[in-house]
């Protein structure tokens, strides 16, 4: 069971009920549960969307798209049924925030799904959890069953005349399915291969119907926002970055854990104060700030606020909020190889730049790591990564290329020194040997 952590700088909104037994429906109701959905029914779709827009909430899956705006894109009338889809496929390395939401506050996800459904005029929501989260799926399934038993889900919810159903779904192991269109394919019982866009899900999504798809944390925020008011939520965060978010701080820190901090909070303070600083008094070397697909920051680049815009300006991304901290003992060559090995494993193979790019970067870094690299390998890796960027259906290609570019650009000298230092007696591994050694 994941342990809960806390720090005085935390501002608890979405984590407010963590550790309070709110997975039980009666406890959830006691803690203001299912009040927001009744407000939503009373005030109507336009009010919900206006409140969400005013909150400045941006997608917590990583892209940071304004949630209220996303909901407003769904056409008012549609011949096909509309759907709400909750993305709990949480697979970005370094990210475990949805894990604690499902564990401690599954009803917030259910209530948020209902609110999104009311906003767009949908009668059915899906909560999709990655296959590895079986024990969490059980918790969510029980929560859904309890909500049905109370009459909160099903026909005529809260006497509104509106029906709303929720179906829970399990994945079966695929990072790629975290991408919204791939998740829809998976939910339709297919390989999780991404769809080309446009059309966007708001127009043609699940089963061809207009679909809102949101990350589980985004959805879990909705009830809190309706209860506290959009402006009040927005004020908790920084400019154009409303509210708070869950940051999972992991790696070489004294107190790893999932902390809820205001948007715009200092990355340096998050590492040195909230998470207790670098483990065993060592020196900081680098930070991967928002899951493994985000370009790395060096130790002297961490005076930056944790919001989508400030991180973008710093040349990286806020991503999924998974902050991975590397101390001075880490070899960037080894770390870069581990990161690309993951993306090579997860590339679905649909788009050639991603399939071949991840494979060749992995092969090249493997020979560098094993001491058979040539100086040109660093250029080759950069060339491969640059040519993957923006050339694939879905962001997996970019997600593999961006961190790779970060490593070879910011730590080029370390790569070169590594190659130089491992040269003696080690012949350069040939392409033929590499092709055989790849898999």
């Amino acid at each position: 069971m994941p342990s809960l952590v806390s720090h005085p700088d935390e501002v608890k909104v979405v984590s407010r009920r963590f550790g309070m037994g709110a997975a039980e429906i009666d406890k959830y109701i006691e803690l203001d549960g299912y009040k927001a959905v009744q407000q939503a029914i009373a005030n109507g779709p336009a009010w919900i969307i206006d409140t969400m827009k005013a909150s400045g909430l941006r997608g917590r899956g990583g892209a940071g798209f304004p949630t209220g705006m996303k909901w407003s894109f769904v056409p008012k009338t549609s011949e096909k049924p509309k759907y709400v889809l909750v993305n709990g496929d949480e697979s970005e390395p370094g990210t475990c925030k949805d894990h604690v939401i499902f564990l401690h506050d599954p009803h917030a996800v259910i209530e948020g799904t209902m609110i999104a459904g009311l906003a767009i005029g949908s009668k059915m929501g899906f909560i999709y959890l990655r296959g590895e989260y079986r024990y969490l799926l059980k918790i969510v399934e029980k929560a859904v069953a309890d909500a049905y038993a109370k009459g909160f889900l099903g026909k005529n919810i809260f006497g509104s005349g509106v029906d709303f159903d929720i179906i829970t779904q399990t994945g079966a192991g695929a990072y790629e399915v975290g991408e919204e269109s791939a998740l829809m394919e998976s939910l339709e019982g297919k390989r999780g291969v991404p769809r080309i866009k446009p059309p966007f899900p708001a127009v043609v999504g699940l089963y061809g119907g207009p679909t809102v798809i949101n990350n589980a944390e985004t959805i879990a925020n909705a009830p809190h926002i309706l209860l506290m008011g959009g402006e009040a939520y927005a004020k908790l965060g920084s400019e154009r970055n409303g509210g708070t978010r869950l940051f999972g701080i992991s790696g070489h820190v004294e107190r790893p854990g999932v902390y809820e901090l205001p948007m715009g909070y200092s990355l340096r303070k998050a590492i040195y104060e909230v998470a207790g600083g670098i483990k065993d008094g060592k020196k900081l070397k680098a930070v991967v700030p928002g899951g493994s697909s985000c370009p790395v920051l060096t130790a002297d680049e961490i005076d930056v606020g944790l919001d989508f815009d400030q991180m973008g300006k710093a040349g990286t991304m806020l991503g999924s909020g998974g902050i991975v901290v590397l101390d001075e003992s880490v070899s960037i060559v080894e770390f870069a190889l581990r990161v690309i090995s993951f993306y090579q494993h997860e590339s679905c193979g649909w788009c050639i730049p991603c399939r071949e790019g991840t494979d060749w970067i992995k092969k090249t870094l493997t020979r560098v790591y094993n001491g058979g690299g040539s100086k040109k390998d660093v250029d080759n890796v950069q060339y491969l990564a640059e040519n993957m960027m923006g050339r694939t259906f879905c962001p997996l290609g970019d997600a593999a290329a961006m961190p790779t570019l970060g490593f070879v650009k910011k730590f080029r000298k370390e790569f070169e020194d590594y190659i130089e230092g491992h040269k003696a007696g080690t012949p350069i591994i040939t392409v033929e040997q590499l092709v055989g050694a790849g898999h």
């Binding site: 069971m1 994941p2 342990s3 049924p81 949480e90 697979s91 970005e92 390395p93 370094g94 990210t95 475990c96 949805d98 894990h99 059915m124 990655r130 296959g131 590895e132 989260y133 079986r134 024990y135 059980k138 179906i167 779904q169 399990t170 994945g171 079966a172 192991g173 695929a174 990072y175 998976s186 939910l187 339709e188 019982g189 297919k190 390989r191 999780g192 089963y207 999972g248 701080i249 992991s250 790696g251 070489h252 790893p256 854990g257 999932v258 991967v288 493994s292 998974g322 991975v324 901290v325 590397l326 880490v330 770390f335 581990r338 990161v339 993951f342 494993h345 997860e346 679905c348």
Partner: protein
Amino acid sequence: MSTVANTIFSPELAARFDHLVTIYPLRRSALIPMLLYAQDEVGYISEAVVSEIAQRIGILELDVRNVLSYYSMLRTKPAGKYNVQVCTNISCMLRGGYEILDHCKHKLGIGHKGVTPDGVFSLEEVECIGACCWAPAMQVNYDFHDDLTPGKVDVLFQMYRDGQGKDVK
């Protein structure tokens, strides 16, 4: 065709599948959960599982195999009774994930995707399992085990060997 005459599954699972194919707007949406739940019961996705699931949904066996080969949790060969899945992705790697994997290999005498001769354990190196803040972590079947040390792994293995490990399905 929601019920199958000579089902290979237990009555409980067969009944669950009868229901599962009816809850979605399209029957095929039940495919991935069915494959996973069938694997939980049978141990792996056998030819017979492919065939019955195809029949239940009303799609070709080829369609089932096409999906089967995509998802990393689905396997076509039996694993051990307890499938040990050690995460070595970045957060776990930084806190000793590879040491845990090596310890498991040594302790069980098997490598990646190996099964012990008595069939009790199998071992897999897996990608991020979403336990980054409690690293290093592993899953045994669906159970998470966090903040691992080699000593803790030894205790866990003994528990499972003694039949005391809880086993979520």
